[in-house]
Amino acid sequence: MSVNWRNIGLFAVVALLFVITGAMQSWTLSLTILNMGLVSAIMALGVNMQWGYAGLFNIGIMGFVALGGLAAVLVSMPPEPDAWAAGGVRIVLGLAVGAASLVAAVLVWSRMPKGRLRGVVLVAVLIAGFVLYSQVFDPAVQAVERTNPAAAGYLGGLGLPILLAWPAGGLLAAGAAWAIGKTALGLRSDYLAIATLGISEIIIAMMKNEDWLARGVKNVTGLPRPVPYEVDLQQTPGFIAWASDWGFDLATASSVVVKLCYAGLFLVVLLALIWLVETAWRSPWGRMMRAIRDNEVSAEAMGKDVTRRHLQIFILGSAVCGIAGAMMTTLDGQLTPSSYQPLRFTFLIWVMVIVGGSGNNWGSVLGGMLIWWLWIMVEPMGQFLFQNLTAWLPEGSFLKDHLKDAAAHMRLLTMGLILLLVLRFSPRGLIPEK
């Protein structure tokens, strides 16, 4: 394999951006952007699997990312024994009743002969199931949410190490992807987009409203960390000695080290995922996927089950997004359902994939890092720009105030323009597919 100097150069440019940010502003800021950039790169990787490899248009990334975040809470937070005693078992029972009535409805639909009777029985089963479910479920939820609402009011998690939440987040997202893919795949491509848009909104609505699950908009904070705390580092004699040897400020050194630990963990996951995906891509399975993407009809004629393969890769890609979501919540140390915005978590990821180069994993990584850096930096840049542009305007004039406020909205405009320009003039992206 020949060394591709162009791609290395592109990565070097992005690395330079981070170095400049570190040197000009602060290394903590630079590393903060870098960490979220790595997470975004993993999300972009997941989307690239769906779009670049299979041409599936998923605009519900936010939902899968949020499910990953939910997994982080459910796995890592300590359980709340009081809440479990108040109604935990009953909630589980209620959910089981709900699931059972859905299964019963599906069985009625598939087993009974066609006719009016089937419809009547189906509706009866659904109504009875719903009534039973709410009888069991609703009181339990109220009981749980009433136990210690200020600090808990939810069932808590499993109390396991948070690193386990990463694969768990992937599994949760995969489950949701299976359900959505089963319905919308095999229909025309726009429908998958609409369906994923819907499921992501519903997942967020659920996380905001089901307080018993993860406290809803009251947020879960103080998630356990996979890396040491800054405060602990600052009290460790070895660390103090090391920092003073090198002449670092203790507070800065501790926060930089913690962030580097995160970056290391993220990098390991990212590289492992890339290796897996690239290996799969070079395998017969990868060739089959390319064949399907490039010509569905002839792939079908060769006996490939296009819908099943699409379902497979849709689930895999969504799982990667779920993993990234769990990692992001780990990094934040808290789950705040109201912070999930589709523009930030769905459409920005798309910009990353398209700019980086759809169909190329390294492109997604590059796009993820570059676009995330831009997303953070566009706002101060916009403010700087407007400050200079409006310098000649009299202080306190309407236009000046308006333009100053408007600078905050530069992000969307810039991202939209970048997306449109890349799609128009360089649809293959920065690092095109080989």
């Binding site: 248009f57 719903f130 491509s189 909104e201 798309w350 406020d405 128009r424």
Partner: protein, 337 residues
């Protein structure tokens, strides 16, 4: 008997009237989506933000008018500003088509690429809207608030239950009926409208018979701008204007269009009302109506609310999924599977 009348009034007040107004707003939105789908053959994800932009433009003109002392009597000034809002939006959409979409038509890009492009347009339009008018909630309904107030109604009829009809709800229905009538007259009776339908049914045949595609597309965009602005202004009058809520309307609007059959204008209207009424009935707390209708012994304890109002997306989504599973072409036969 009295109880029964009370139940009907409560039903009208909380379900039928709000549902009808919301349905009309969704129907207008879904008509725009369906027209773009029929003529330009892609799902336009920028539609919600076109609505937001149109509303923002109308609000600006409304403000200008009020500052000049122009008002529309008991009707909201925004209705007077609506034509100007439509004109501004039409210019923006035509400009977008010229700068962005035309290229992809020339190269005959796959529909999914156009969908993605529309996502970029959505970003930009959202940015422009925020740039122009900000992100705050804006209430721009002026004029009379109610056609009938709850208290008047109670005094008039002697019932316990009041019926309040807001003027914005009546305006929504009247304007929607006029807009739909105009649209169907245009599509069925005029030469340009017929050429649009021909283009939608069979592009090749339409081109062969000398229909100018660029003209058809331009007319479509103007109509879409008019529909989107009207829908957005009506929704904003009825509730209030906030840039972000219009993006969230995208899901019920798409659900309406798909349920009715993408590409079918009649279906879009039916779909809008199906979605609106399901949303309202599922999220309405039926306790009040049930207390009136059922005998005392059966009076319900809970609110009888099937789902919290925050889950209204789930309703449109569930209907969408059911339609996709059992009848992917929609109630009225739409274009594709």
């Amino acid at each position: 008997m009295m109880d029964f009348l009370n139940a009907i009034v409560a039903l009208l007040n909380f379900v039928v009237i709000p549902g009808a107004a919301y349905g009309a707003q969704l129907a207008l939105g879904a008509l725009g989506v369906t027209l773009v789908y029929g003529i330009l053959r892609f799902s336009n994800f920028a539609h919600g933000d076109t609505m937001a932009f149109g509303t923002a433009a109308t609000i600006l003109v409304t403000w200008l008018m009020t500052s000049l002392g122009i008002s529309f009597g008991p009707l909201p000034t925004a209705l007077l500003a609506l034509p100007f809002g439509i004109a501004i939006t039409a210019l923006l959409v035509l400009g977008t088509d010229r700068v962005v979409y035309r290229f992809y038509r020339r190269v005959k890009a796959a529909p999914v690429v156009l969908v993605m492009v529309s996502m970029g347009v959505m970003f930009v339009m959202n940015g422009i809207t925020r740039f122009v008018i900000g992100v705050d909630e804006i209430n721009f309904a002026d004029g009379a608030r109610f056609v009938i107030g709850a208290r008047e109604f109670r005094q008039m009829t002697g019932l316990d239950e009041g019926l309040a009809i807001r003027s914005t709800q009546v305006i929504t229905l009247v304007v929607a009926v006029i807009a739909v009538a105009l649209l169907f007259w245009f599509l069925n009776r005029t030469r340009t409208g017929k050429s649009m339908r021909a283009f939608s049914d069979n592009e090749d045949l339409a081109l062969l018979s000398g229909i100018n595609p660029e003209r058809v597309v331009a007319v479509t965009w103007i109509i879409v701008a008019a529909l989107a602005t009207t829908a957005g202004v009506l929704y904003g009058l009825d509730k209030s204007f906030k840039a972000f809520t219009y993006f969230q309307l995208l899901l019920p609007i798409f659900a309406s269009a798909v349920v009715g059959g993408l590409g079918n204008p009649l279906g879009a209207i039916a779909g809008g009302f199906v979605i609106a009424f399901s949303e309202v009935t599922v999220t309405y707390a039926w306790k009040k109506v049930a207390t009136y209708v059922l005998p005392e012994s059966l009076a319900p304890e809970g609110l009888l609310q099937l789902m919290g109002t925050d889950y209204k997306f789930a309703v449109s989504f569930a209907i969408l999924v059911i339609v996709l599973l059992f009848k992917p072409t929609g109630i009225f036969k739409g274009k594709s599977i």
